[in-house]
Symmetry: C2
Subunit: 216 residues, 2 copies
């Protein structure tokens, strides 16, 4: 499927509130996931519904997570528990002339499905490291057999997914346009601030450290 | 209860993975919520488990949300559906010498409970506006009776809540300390970037607009 193809929404992913902000294409979905380092993962068990932040990354049409074998979440997901994964980037506060037309600018992606175990954990975790710090998978001390054995990697297909994006300025009703309140957007940007080296580290900073503050 | 009092964890909020990062005091919980403009809200209905981003704010020992009466979520929450609300701020990528000791710095809060309807919607939404832009509740065109009637405000008690916070540099095992990989933290900060005024707005920027880029 080409990256720009639209995906038909399911009953769960069809956006009903402010439906004109919905996006069902792969390019929007991939961009929102790739801009994130973590997601919120919802699932239910006998104690109730839970919402847990998890580090995540994307390869192709899957979102990946990993964790210790001993964790409650990964044990449960391996039983085929239905999950919902959401990623949201907040871009600004939208100040309209009318109180009820205030809004926020954001990019949000929601994925429904069931996680599956990933057998090639080394390749998957190398891809995660490549997402965090390109090239670092060749520099860090690689995982031992014992470390890999204690870790579970899982992935969820991006088949059932939808995005919702709001951008731009406030939208006021015609009759409110003369109301004397400032109108516009107060924007947020996630910035990269200078790397903080471990005090006992004597290694020269690699490219992804030197270039960190140019990103973000 | 004083702000600094610790709260006993419940079976659901007791942190089991890396328990030394758990915080059960009110001050940590309040600070994490107050630094946020949105939360992720998980709930289950007959279609499955969902995770939805929602604007939120805190007053006292409650987290508030609002939305259109017609929305699926608010209808369901009014039936007493159990919810889990999570807020996560990502502060940095923690690069350790060993691949498996990589981590992230973050501040996360999780709240379990049942939402209740808020009757005094005007006071609650004024408090929300005060959180977004202090003083603006006196400037924007106030909501009409019809607008208030179409909106539901709900809140969840912070009684059953827990926070998890990681900060600081990488922690490597003694035998990895000589491994020649750069070690340290690549930090993130959410910055406020210059306000974008609505092109047809002729109103002078109020204090919260003029001071926007000094915050964040």
């Amino acid at each position: 499927m080409p990256d720009t193809a639209a995906q038909a929404p399911t009953d769960r992913t069809r956006v009903r509130r402010i439906a004109e902000n919905a996006h069902y294409d792969r390019a929007t979905l991939h961009a929102i996931i790739d801009a994130a380092y973590l997601c919120h993962l919802a699932f239910a068990d006998e104690k109730g519904t839970h919402c847990i932040p998890m580090a995540c990354w994307r390869e192709g049409e899957y979102l990946y997570i990993h964790g210790s074998n001993g964790g409650r979440l990964l044990k449960l997901l391996q039983k085929g528990t239905q999950a919902c994964v959401t990623i949201t980037h907040l871009d600004g506060l939208v100040l309209a002339r009318s109180a009820f037309n205030h809004s926020m600018n954001y990019r949000s992606a929601m994925v429904y499905g069931v996680f599956e175990r990933v057998e090639d954990k080394r390749a998957a975790l190398d891809a995660f490291m490549q997402h965090l710090a390109p090239g670092r998978q060749h520099e860090a001390r690689p995982g031992s057999d014992k470390e890999f054995a204690a870790t579970t990697v899982m992935r969820i297909s991006l088949d059932e997914a939808a995005c919702k994006v709001r951008s731009g300025g406030p939208v006021d009703d015609e009759e409110d346009m003369a109301h004397p309140a400032w109108a516009g957007v107060l924007p947020f940007v996630v910035m990269h601030t200078p790397p903080v080296v471990d005090p006992v580290c004597g290694i020269a900073p690699p490219a992804y450290v030197q270039g960190w503050t140019r990103g973000g």
